[in-house]
Symmetry: C2
Subunit: 452 residues, 2 copies
């Protein structure tokens, strides 16, 4: 395999990657704060090993940011590389075939939490730089590495840093490799990211839990109240009932829609292998691409209330809670949606219920121009290594830092080595090793081409 | 206080009761199986202390039954006394002012899980017998004590026992003191109990959890599917949408309704002090008594799905579960309702969802005649001690064993010393000590009157 390393190096690379993936750096769970720090330290060590003369562990109110600057090459362009070392919680644990923090290889796939989101991709970029830094006697370009530990939990450390020191983003281009191919063999660049408004909806209907024998039939049940509010907020058709939401959406251009229609897409295979369900739901009058890229969503991520232990408890619960989020598309700012969500909840809440929308975190949607010459270089690198140029697509997910990274006007190349079935945020998250080897070569070539 | 004991005995009685209440005999939780056995053993010891020549700990497939026979008195009538030593789970723990299994007295109230349901009432009957057994040189009546440990979890041990040995129910009357006064100062006997159909509703829409960024907008969310099914099963008005349910209900007689209208009832006080909510819900065209005594209910006792830890996880959950029950009134047999519930769930389940109704436990509703002469004796006993005869009411709750206890045709006196605000199945469950002292005297007098 041509990834710029001798084949005998592969076992060393896999050993290093396994070490990184073994650290349970779950940023949203306070008990893993120490693990997040260990993952950051692992990156610091890597950057020293790569010969970076400047390496910093930058503290803030949360998990630290890792910063590194490669040896300066006079006259060479500068690339800012962004990634994150934190991961999503691994639950439900019992659905993993091998433990989430014990990386395991089966059939050319490396299974672990963070394998693709985003440790595997961070590793790919580090190794791409390592592979080419001495090829011509000196590194081809100047790289500024920026790795944060709060991408999955909505922390502020990296935002505070770039607010205080915007000069850190000075670069000729920004590379964010936290994304996937559109399909196997189809590398992609991304023209938009959905924003997010994540909140908890708390409901209380009674001062205390009651016995359903004595009070069943008259006492307001908090779970029933909460779920009726939730089903009122989103109709059976998938339509979100939040005032002015759809009216505010900026629809995709005709050219964009045309590009999407040209993409290879097998809905039956998508349903079976990616969605793993029996049917797609949501606004049926819109295509899958429109529903996942160009329209807002309302999802219930978790729900809690009453007795869920073994056996039976005949309680009328006094309180209940759901975790919800909206994904935001161009036209829907976070501020606007927070305000409208509060209004909508107030409208659907019955007078007898006490309720609260507790905002957890969020960010605005992003649109990205893909006209800069660096996109053509990336296309060439992909074409050379995997035989196909990138396709321009959108992403359903959110990477809140992206607008800040591009604030100086440098083009932001949002791409990556993931595959659609990698299961990010799910049990048995994986990295296809062929994608890793290809990726190391692609980005190595991209660095070399930037220098030409 | 006149309860048949010298006043100096009260501290001993409270000490004994505290001992009983300190045992966390939560029958539905497997980890408390040993505690259930300790509670049973505590009753065995009591029965020996009361001089019972026959005391048995009867094993079965679950928690044991305790059986005792008082010293035989030739020619005296026989009373079968039923109670249960198991209790509901104490959660939510953080709402208790003092720990549930550390009995605490404040303002004449004894707080503990099981204080009124049903350990306090079992204790009351044991002490009523103790108080009068030597008053006339010999016990006034023959008592057969039957205490089970699975009333709160729907176990089968006592049912299996009475199926195999129905002669254990041979008696002139049956006394079940697991109930409450209708209101302070208003003792009651019960003419009906609601039955129950308790089940879990499991829903799965995906093989695995998905990332809401990638698949939000098209992937079926298991929580959303489950809650839409639940809100479909019970409408906003409180009407249960299960075919033929209301049509099958046998309505209360005119005489019964008339009796209910004569009961003292302050809806505002009921809402504030008992329900502890801001409004009553349910079928508004029916009175509170009809809604809680004469109509079926559909309650959601607990719900679980997705991520409910601290912070944010942007998952589309693949599976979700709710614990639900229907309370059944005369006309609605358990078999019928199970069948209709399955049908109703099948109707509201979308084609893309895998679902299962897992029946947990249940029982038929019960109607009880209150014409036998023993009811007049009980009225006299209450009148003598607390100054008022009983009122005939219904119960919203279920005591599954009641029909079995009355299978020989002996009258079943369903009564008790609880007060409506005792908070059974809730945090801070309590026993009013004045009710205990009165109850010991009432039942002691009742035993003596039976002998006359």
């Amino acid at each position: 395999m041509d990834h710029g390393f001798p084949a005998r190096e592969e076992s060393r690379l896999l050993h290093e990657l396994s070490e990184f993936l073994s650290i349970p750096s779950v940023s949203t769970l306070p008990e893993h704060a120490g693990d997040c720090r260990r993952a950051a330290q692992w990156l610091v060590d890597q950057l020293f090993t790569l010969g970076c003369p400047t390496v910093q562990l930058i503290e803030g109110d949360g998990h630290p940011v890792v910063w590194g600057e490669s040896p300066h090459v006079e006259g060479a362009p500068t690339l800012l590389i962004y990634g994150h070392y934190d991961v999503q919680p691994p639950d439900p644990l019992d659905e993993w075939h091998t433990p989430p923090f014990t990386p395991s290889i089966r059939d050319g796939q490396l299974y672990a939490r963070g394998a693709i989101d985003d440790k595997g991709q961070v590793f790919c970029l580090l190794k791409a730089y390592e592979a080419v830094r001495d090829a011509d006697g000196k590194p081809p370009i100047n790289v500024r590495f920026l790795f944060e530990g709060e991408e999955e939990c909505g922390g502020q450390v990296v935002f505070d840093l770039l607010e205080a020191e915007p000069e850190r983003t000075h670069a000729d281009a920004v590379l964010v490799a936290d994304m996937s191919y559109f399909a196997p063999g189809w590398p992609a660049v991304y023209t938009a990211l959905r924003g997010m408004c994540y909140a908890e909806l708390h409901v209380r209907t009674l001062a205390r839990d009651l016995h359903s024998g004595s009070y069943g039939g008259v006492a307001p049940n908090a779970i029933e109240t909460l779920i009726r509010m939730l089903t009122d907020l989103k109709g059976r058709s998938g339509k979100i009932r939040i005032p002015k939401l759809y009216k505010s959406v900026i629809p995709p251009t005709k050219a964009e829609r045309k590009g999407w229609r040209a993409l290879p897409f097998d809905e039956a295979a998508y349903l079976e292998h990616e969605v793993t369900g029996k049917a797609l739901t949501g606004l049926e009058q819109f295509s899958v691409f429109e529903r996942t890229w160009a329209l807002p969503t309302f999802e219930i991520h978790g729900i809690k209330g009453g007795f869920v232990g073994e056996g039976a408890k005949t309680v009328i619960p006094a309180a209940a809670m759901a975790k919800i989020s909206l994904r935001l598309v161009p036209g829907l700012s976070l501020d606007f949606v927070r305000k409208q969500l509060d209004k909508a909840v107030a409208e659907v809440a019955p007078a007898y219920a006490e309720w609260e929308v507790r905002f957890v975190h969020g960010n605005d949607p992003v649109q990205i121009e893909v006209e800069a010459p660096q996109f053509a270089l990336l296309d060439r690198a992909f074409e050379e290594v995997v035989g196909r140029r990138t396709v321009a697509v959108r992403a359903g997910g959110s990477i809140p830092i992206v607008p800040k990274l591009g604030m100086t006007g440098a083009p932001v190349l949002l791409t990556g080595i993931g595959l659609p079935d990698d299961g990010l945020h799910s049990p048995n998250e994986k990295l296809d090793l062929q994608q890793l080897w290809d990726g190391i070569r692609v980005f190595g070539r991209f660095f070399e081409m930037m220098a030409e």
